[in-house]
Symmetry: D2
Subunit: 337 residues, 4 copies
């Protein structure tokens, strides 16, 4: 850790801080400069957190040298992690497509979608029973009934099921019905929920928050791993920027960055990442090209009637074309789908 | 609601949609143009949500005319709402300062802070027992024990207490210990929590999320009001932008905007809004100048040792100067503190 | 154009505005609603600009129906435009790679780079003689001497040359030395420069500004086309967001969006778009996958010694691998390189 | 400067870099750590720029200790600079209001505005002759004729004149007609223009770019000062964020930050900063409260007919009320107007 002192800090102030660093068992460094004095601390700086050096009134700035996360870091776990949803691998040489409607609306809608996406080559089925919606006047999901429909349909077509969990109190019910949890962008920093999911061993698809940096996302994953659940799949789904041409700005830079800094698999949600039906396929191709391990795609048998996110959902025919168009890119990436 | 059709939409497509609008009891309008056909719907467009017109493949864009919120809107409730925390009014002619440490660390730290902020003129005491922290390795708050300390100290010094709630499961305990709930930026769209708080009658201080537009904030408040709790105080605490000189970008434009569109009181948190101790006082003055109804300020008896957010906390002496410096601005604003 | 009036606007106010719309030869529409009155204007709304209706104190909001640009729009020019730099086509079925150093540093550096990038398959040579740099203490480019070196080397290796122009006063000199102008992100809204380039017939590579929406970019291109120069190539190079893991956030969503709304070719600059050498290749692959027409890549014979942007420049060997790795994706996209 | 090496860097790599640091006359530091090696350089790190250490393939990250600017820094010039426009001081104990229309439209409009703003207490007159507009189809200003009208009117009413300059080629003409240059947000990084203005001794009002950090703004000012012109006034006018309720997000945090880091005066433009007429006055009050040295306000005799930015312009009556409402806040701030 590098500690830059304010110009008014004296040698005595610097000594007080270096003494506290040494007391924690780290090696302190003293670097008086022409305009500022700089201090360093060599060793596992994560334990320096206890000192709260950034609070010191004579400290101008503190720069950590190491990443703030550890269990998710590639530094400590150089090989790619492969997470299995049901029996389906995500990560490594696989390119895994998870598809289904934004919201479970009923048994017929789910069955039609499940059969269609399976036929087209998707490996897991998604569908939301609990829907976090910006307005209280929007459809909020079928709840428990939705979970049961998803479970039933997934069993019938033989696909693992993925569904969103929004509340600690629902974790047990979701765990019974689904093969993987999804944590939505709005709950990425619902730390109680993350800790509760850390107690499970079922995989967690953790979506990046709209204002979350990649480091924030990795720290959120660290919450789950540090509670004991190693099965985390990260998901890039767009961030909020000034651009309004698309619903969000899909940050594909995050894919090579995550691949370099973490061993966890990472997938892309081009449906939320664009919010526009006709941009889903090109961005799905871009996702595989830049190294993503899979996709989360919204498919609805009749997007015109969808109770949520219809404008960004593909119909089964469009999804079929997406999958067909994707194949040469998956191959170019040296992956199998 | 204004509905812009794609160039390829035919007259028949337009008729299909206007028929559906009319079936809901709204008056449809048909406006064929040179390059696009535009449709309108006159009446309470909020019921149009059921049609999901934005999903229609021949619809290019949908622009609502009215705000998406209703209960929080000044259109339906022209006069300023005054919310009372304990007996303390927030809103109207009052300028109310709520102060205390970021986190409850122990009885002595709380008591020292409470006495100091009361002496300087703060009206309510804040202190966090449940702390949402970006890293799992940071101090997470004292939990129930923290709630008890806060309750005890608040009673002793005779100030109402405000504390953060992060989980539906904690609502009852927080309600017993505090006079107002605080919902943090990360939970602004934790809709289950908002609904649970809507069942209470205790005031809720709802902080704006880091990526939340003012409309998102007002819709989050609408969740609470629509469940029956009218006692919501909005709080601007900075948004996330590209600027890294400050922790967040305090968006004071939001104050006149909220005042124009909503009847709810709105306060400002200059501590999180800047993240820099020496900027708290100038931004507190700016807050009262542009029309805010109060402040939420972090104060710690010894910021150097604070377990969280010490770099942005004032010590009792600095807080005293803030309050003194604030007075002429409160007076200039025609308020009383 | 849709005009939403404030609640306090009377029928007479509405009539005043509809009269002014009709006077311009457009068909006005009057839609009184329950909470707001809405007006419409049917016809080429671009001429409505003269009325400045948005200034009217009783107008709450104005929503245009049509795009604000015309000459760059696919609505008026459905087929893809192919722009030629020297004899090299950009757009259509081609995928065109433009490569070279950020800055021209000397004849040897340029020649080594030019030979290397040509060998690897790049079709055009780039190199900056005028460098806009954030700090006045950074290397500012060789100016005229740099232009001459670029011209000489490009002639020698037989590649068209692309270079940045930053000032109206330099347009003539750059036009003599290079086969295409580049307008950098910081000058995207230097409208005088755009107008001057509109007087030329040489192609202009127009880079998106850091805070520019895609609509702003298309309007900037409209400046050039409306002066008479149809040879514009758009370039996505990343926008500024809160994310600091990468230098900019490369907004690949812009590619399908531009392809849908404009007939102009669009290329991607993954060097500035990421700012990190090891992310250039994955993002180059993503660019071709989502529909871009080419790349602008920084290559330097010895990035360690580069006078600017060395951290994001590839050396000739790395560039060779990029081109090799790109081929299967170019093929998957049905393009030729 | 702190240099963090990649994990794979050897001791020999570190020595190579420290040797290069020492060769420049700085004192190098070597800090081997458990996971990374960190190097330091003590002395005036600005000369380190020549080494381009950030380009080195084994360097992970470089953190400067000192600010990248020098002449604008308070470190080297602790006392507030007061800049004079005509005879009017900006900075120190003064609070200076500069007002006038966005664009010069004609002699009558300018004279009416000038008389009104002078009467209300404004000290300088603004008016644009060259207007940078997003669309080529918007009014672009009267050019030279506008300069003459402004000059004439300013002389007649006895106020110094401020006007925007957009092009190196116009600097001489603007210098003859006006008492201060204004550089607009879109030209903040038009470095050639900044250098040309550095050759003048007339004051420059430098507006912050929409995507510019405060450091970028200070570096842009450094361009002007380093060419010899010390008379720079900074201007906060809002940045571009995801929030669309206002035209820009006025970043008032920038005011205390600039005051702490620079000796230059800084004013606020609440007209562009909000884009909404009714928010101009509250944000003007907030500006003086947080420490700004003045305002730039758009006033038009008849905003309904204004050729640009009418929606955010005040009429003379509204401006009179702004000035009256501002007085108690100016007094509270211990300033005179």
């Amino acid at each position: 850790m590098i500690i830059v002192l304010k110009p008014e800090a004296t040698k005595k102030d610097a000594q007080e801080i270096t003494r506290r660093i040494a007391a924690l068992g780290l090696k302190p460094l003293y670097m008086p400069g022409t305009e500022r004095t700089v201090l360093g601390a060599i060793g596992d700086e994560r334990i320096l957190g206890k000192l709260h050096i950034e609070n010191h009134p004579l400290v101008e700035r503190v720069s950590p040298i190491l990443t703030p996360y550890k269990l998710v870091s590639r530094d400590f776990h150089p090989r790619d992690t492969v997470v299995r949803i049901g029996g389906i691998p995500v990560g490594g040489k696989h390119f895994t497509v998870i598809a289904g409607p934004c919201a479970v609306e009923g048994p017929r809608q789910m069955l039609l979608t499940a059969q269609a996406v399976k036929r087209a080559g998707a490996k897991c089925l998604r569908g939301g029973a609990y829907k976090p919606r910006t307005s209280p006047y929007s459809f909020q999901g079928l709840g428990l009934e939705g979970l049961e429909i998803l479970h039933e349909v997934a069993r019938k077509v033989g696909m693992p099921a993925v569904t969103e969990v929004v509340e600690v109190g629902d974790v047990a019910a979701v765990e019974r019905s689904a093969d993987a949890f999804q944590v939505g962008a709005r709950n990425m920093q619902n730390f109680r929920l993350l800790k509760a999911l850390g107690q499970s061993r079922k995989p967690v698809i953790l979506k990046r928050g709209m204002a979350a940096s990649v480091d924030d996302l990795l720290l959120a994953a660290e919450y789950i791993l540090s509670e004991g659940n190693p099965n985390v799949i990260l998901c890039e789904r767009g961030i909020r920027t000034f651009e309004t041409a698309t619903r969000n700005t899909l940050d594909l830079n995050a894919i090579p960055h995550i691949k370099q800094h973490s061993h966890l698999p990472v997938i892309v949600d081009p449906s939320h990442g664009t919010g526009v039906r006709s941009y889903v396929t090109p961005m799905a191709k871009a996702a595989v090209a830049c190294g993503a391990d899979g996709l989360l795609v919204e498919v609805h048998p009749n997007p015109k009637e969808a109770l949520s996110d219809g404008h960004q959902s593909l119909d089964p025919h469009e999804f079929g074309r997406l999958m067909k168009g994707l194949r040469p890119f998956v191959q170019a990436a040296g992956r199998r789908m």
